[in-house]
Subunit: 281 residues, 4 copies
């Protein structure tokens, strides 16, 4: 029996970077968290402690900050592409580079209908994400939204499911549907107006969720993904994860009251986990 | 030497409640977290395990859900007042009731300039808070905002401070100012249009933060509080906690580059902690 | 109407410091989180942005690291006392200093009954805390344990409580009692063998919890506090917060099974909150 | 262009379950978090909202609690195997079942060298994990440790790495090595004394970490995995993720002091991320 190294990778996570981009009439404020990950010809680093092929994670971090100065000027997808290409080009031992960026949302304050030039509010859970994979010249660009908390108070049902010895759930013809949705979609090619695409795809996801008559989370997930693939040729495939954030009617009968879908217990655990990927045939 | 019971209190925390309030043309969705806390004549419960004076925390929770049906119809301040009065009136052993409510923000989705009747986005860190203290007939109403993440990219300096043997900080004439602000204010009386007041006070806090030329977090805090007290007679006093969420310029000099207030390290720890209360004389 | 500054304070939070103390036969590893907080004659800093009296929070942080080299050699109480005295002595504008230290627990690994000289495991939620208040020469030393997760599977009941219209809880003669206990105690004087006291008091709290027949969380809390005051003259008063981490029997009757206190739902929210302070008369 | 459903799965997450197992002389307390995940012939559920093939996640949760009564009596691996087999056997539409269990560690209190029969301390970050995949009769059993926080104060270096234009890191011949290790290993067959194996493998991981002279995290990771594969034939392969929890020497030179590897800044972000899998050839 011999032992050998299988899959392996290393990089820097949680490189927290903020940037001010100064425009003529306002300051654009951006805040991102960057992860870099390298795979390649690193076996002796693991087996012998040979660091001569290792680009330290500290240097990867420095590189992110340094290149941000001139090259983080637009979308996170474009900045991640620039970083992936930099690491690929400058490190012959590296065979595969992954750059992942999460962007925190900051919104310019508005007073009397006018945007303030340099004051912002933040704090939303929702984040724009980008993931670049580069292997030599091969590039894949995946973008996404994480932690998009969406809810509808009606047009949602769940009925006609399997009944077995452990069933206690009552069918619901009208229930709250809430999810902390994470969607990721792969673009057909590694170029495009990624910021506009993100904004449009986000709108399509919200619009479909809001107007859909849901028979299950699975069906809503499918219709949201389908709407994106139908509307955007630039998208090759889309994956959605939609944990069901349950709002459970509180039983008021012991108190002689009737809960007509009014008062709910909002719970974190346990939660239904629903996922699906939609692809073009 | 004798030992005796000093301050004591008990209640239910994290009662997670959501509600649909059905209006003619739309559904209003509300989500709150309620804490109840009772003080009173409970010494024998502690010293002897005598539970005959104890209203179980489970019953306190049930009460919150049950009373929400008919009485959580407007502001969280009004609902908390109703709850505090209920516990006071029905429990003669209770001398002091505290009801604290945190409201999570949910925003109706908007399409083509129109609000959707029942679809929402959520997920913001910012919360509206209310704290009611009732002792017999004496009532105090405190409202607040927690986790209001605000940032300005300029009009902020920090200079001319004490220099000692441990000083390494460089004076900054132009820096990012960011804080996860928590503000709480006590109203002069236990009645009013609390929802409108909250919305207006929030606007005043943001407006002052945005337009103020900051010489320090302390000064910005003071001006924000002062603006609220000057504008709203209904407010008796206001306290602000403004942790300084540092964005530190990344040193690009080792790479032959100059960081002209462009690229920053966003840090969580350590952080400056600044607090202050403003009162009317 | 005039507006003025009331209570105010500022300092540095979350100064994350680790230290290696080299002994003859092993390395002692310590990890703490330090908060400093200053009160004093700072009104003009708030009202006018006058920073000439301000010791920057960055300098406070530097001071903690610098003084740790020679003065963090024993208990966190002694290091906090040293820091508080340093800030008091060197800053005449400061009237009150608060230094709070949380120590993360690291345990030396053990192999074949022998402690390893420099390898540790960590990761426990439980922390040793110290809080020093200094006003001129007046000193108060408070120590504590936070997030001490303790549980007993029996010798715990909750019965004979008030029944009202909102009661649904069934009395329990045998239930799980679990709490994430936070205890803080004030010492009678600002000197002593704080490390030994901490270790002994922790043992007394655990021993009392384990051997006590609980009629309620309130009663258990009281007996734990009483045991500490009775055993340690050095303790002036003790406060305990014991949130009730509920383990609720899962209803197996719909499946034709009987749950004989075997299978439980472990819940985080809502939770009972029980607090009490015991003092010497 | 046609759109179709690709990979999809659904289940219940965060089923928080605790259990008392009553032995002659003591109570055994166990606490786990269970995730179930089903894949199968569910296309119409997604495309048409056809729920007739759907076993609700609520029923999956009930099943976990109900089967825990008689079948959660030993290792989490064995309980997960039982659950996976139950879902496979009873749901012909299901092609693949995944059951994941995390066990929280609870330790019996000890007084005067004796274990207490029913009192426990908990609160450690470290968890024992198990993951069962069942596809028809094919079974894979993976066990692991997550969030194992380990640290050594010496016998760790990092030198001789690549230097480029963005390098600022100084080589270290003696540094702190700390990681929040997650290890997962796949067993060669779906039966065995999983509890004893877990305990032994954990010991081997700790022993190797403690006694290894580290030239890099990569090398330490490799040696830890190798030691497990060499010692346990029952293990087919092992994966380790070892984020580098940096402790960075604080620069005391501005204060005229020398930091001889004594005082460190403990940081959470950014962090080096190192991963590797070791397999038998």
């Amino acid at each position: 029996m011999k032992i050998k190294l299988g899959e392996n990778a290393y990089g820097k996570n949680a490189v927290e970077l903020s940037k001010i981009i100064r425009h003529a009439d306002h300051h654009e404020f951006r805040q991102v968290s960057v992860n870099t990950l390298l795979e390649g010809d690193f076996e002796t680093a693991y087996t012998q402690g040979d660091n001569t092929r290792i680009l330290p994670t500290d240097t990867q971090k420095n590189t992110v900050y340094a290149l941000a100065k001139d090259h983080f000027t637009g979308s996170i997808e474009d900045f991640a592409l620039y970083l992936a290409n930099h690491f690929t080009t400058n490190n012959p031992r590296v065979h595969k580079v992954q750059v992942e960026i999460q962007e925190h949302s900051w919104t310019r304050m508005q007073f009397n209908g006018e945007l303030h030039p340099h004051a912002y509010t933040g704090g939303g859970a929702e984040k724009h994400t980008a993931l670049i994979l580069q292997e030599g010249n091969a590039l894949s660009v995946t973008a996404g939204i994480s932690d998009l908390l969406i809810l509808k108070t009606t047009d949602s049902a769940f009925e006609h499911y399997i009944q077995d010895a452990f069933t206690t759930l009552k069918p619901a013809s009208d229930r709250i549907l809430a999810t902390q949705c994470t969607a990721t979609w792969r673009y057909t090619k590694p170029a495009g107006d990624f910021s506009a695409l993100y904004s449009n795809i986000r709108h399509t996801l919200l619009h479909t969720f809001a107007h859909h008559k849901s028979l299950s989370v699975q069906q809503t997930l499918y219709d949201m993904g389908k709407a994106v693939l139908e509307a955007y040729d630039a998208v090759q495939e889309i994956s959605l994860v939609m944990p069901n954030k349950h709002h459970i009617p509180f039983n008021l009968e012991p108190f002689g009251m009737k809960n007509q879908n009014e008062v709910f217990v909002a719970t974190d655990a346990p939660y239904g986990y629903i996922s699906g990927t939609l692809v073009r045939e």
